[in-house]
Structure formats: structure tokens, C-alpha cells
């Protein structure tokens, strides 16, 4: 029992990301309004980015910028002093792709509104059938 509590408490970054992922997925599936679905899609994307960033953290590691300047000595760089920079690079690309997808999704929502006059999913289904 004690090591179950220890296992839960030392991995709590995964619990945060699971909760946010499920909130985003629920919003995309259940909500009827198109703009609410788009908000759910963005919450899902930022939850995934949070997962990768939390994987890259290291105990007692500092920011991934090599210390330079007048007081830094010229000793060799050790990899255990700095946190892992590779997931940061991948997630920069992911954020830019997320905003591009958001722009196209909102353009589609405006076009649907101009065509059918509503943003509610059930209303659009009935108006398509007419």
C-alpha cells in the first residue's frame, strides 16, 4: 500500500495530462456547437504538449541554455546538468501547427455559418435535409 501511494505521487504529471486529455476529448465528442468542438481540439493539443514537456524535466537540471558570459569558466559541459532540449524542439513545431489548424477550422466554421445560418450541429443536419 505504501509503495502504491509512492508510485502515484511520484508520477503525478501523467495524471494531469490524462485529465486534460479526457476533458478535450469529451468536448469534441459531446458538445453540439462547432466553436466548442474547436476549443476542445485545442485543449487536447495543449495537453499532449504538456506530456512531452513533463517528460523532458530532470532533477536538479537547469534551463537548456549553456551558461556563458564573463564569469563562466571553460569547463566541459555535462549532459546531466541541463534538462533535455529535444522534446522542446518538437513541441515548438507542434504549437505552430496547432495555430495553423485553428485558423483553418475557424474559416470552415464561418463558411458553414454563411451557408446554413447556424452553428448548431442538429440544426445543420435538419437544414441539409431540406
Amino acid at each position: 500500500m505504501h509503495d502504491l501511494i509512492l508510485a502515484i505521487m511520484s508520477k503525478y504529471n501523467y495524471w494531469i495530462y490524462i485529465v486534460l486529455l479526457m476533458i478535450g476529448l469529451y468536448a469534441m465528442m459531446v458538445k453540439k456547437n462547432l466553436v466548442k468542438k474547436i476549443i476542445g481540439m485545442n485543449i487536447l493539443q495543449t495537453a499532449i504538449i504538456l506530456f512531452y514537456i513533463s517528460v523532458s524535466a530532470k532533477k536538479d537540471g537547469t534551463l537548456p541554455i549553456i551558461i556563458h558570459g564573463p564569469h563562466a569558466g571553460h569547463h566541459p559541459v555535462r549532459a546531466a546538468d541541463y534538462i533535455n532540449p529535444l522534446p522542446h524542439v518538437l513541441m515548438l513545431t507542434a504549437i505552430v501547427v496547432a495555430v495553423a489548424t485553428l485558423g483553418v477550422a475557424l474559416a470552415l466554421a464561418i463558411k458553414v455559418y454563411q451557408q446554413y445560418g447556424t452553428l448548431d450541429e442538429d440544426e445543420i443536419h435538419t437544414r441539409i435535409r431540406k
Partner: protein, 81 residues
């Protein structure tokens, strides 16, 4: 990794996320989504990812919120659920 700051910001993130999809006014949902982006940016800055936090602060809490408000302005503001 100071654990009490992280705990407070995590609770705020989850509250903003649930509120952004529950509120019935679409303009309020867009502003709450901007607040959610800001809280996520703080969380990543605490975890040490300063480049990613900078990008999310400028993109998510800046341009993304403006695009949402522009889209809500061109369509309707009320929603049924």
C-alpha cells in the same frame, strides 16, 4: 520544481479548461480559453521549457484568442449547450 506553485497552477488550469467548454456564451468561452493558454504557459515555464512557454504566450494567449473573437463576431454569440 517547487511543488506548491505547481499544484495551484495545475488546479487553475483544470478549472479554466472545464469552464471554457461549459459556459454558454461563446465570447466568454473564447476569453476563458485565453486564460487557459496563459496558465499552461506558466506551467511550462516552471518545468523549465522557456522557449515553448514564450511561444505559447505569444501564439496561444495573443493571436489565437483574437482569431476566436473575430470568428465569434462573424457568427452568432449564443449557444444552446
Amino acid at each position: 520544481m517547487i511543488w506548491y506553485i505547481e499544484l495551484v497552477i495545475t488546479i487553475l488550469v483544470i478549472i479554466c479548461g472545464i469552464a471554457a467548454i461549459t459556459v454558454r456564451d461563446l465570447l466568454g468561452a473564447a476569453i476563458l480559453f485565453g486564460a487557459y493558454s496563459f496558465m499552461m504557459c506558466l506551467l511550462w515555464a516552471i518545468m523549465g521549457a522557456v522557449d515553448v512557454a514564450f511561444t505559447e504566450a505569444s501564439v496561444g494567449a495573443g493571436v489565437s484568442t483574437v482569431l476566436f473573437v473575430a470568428a465569434v463576431f462573424r457568427t452568432s454569440r449564443r449557444t444552446k449547450d
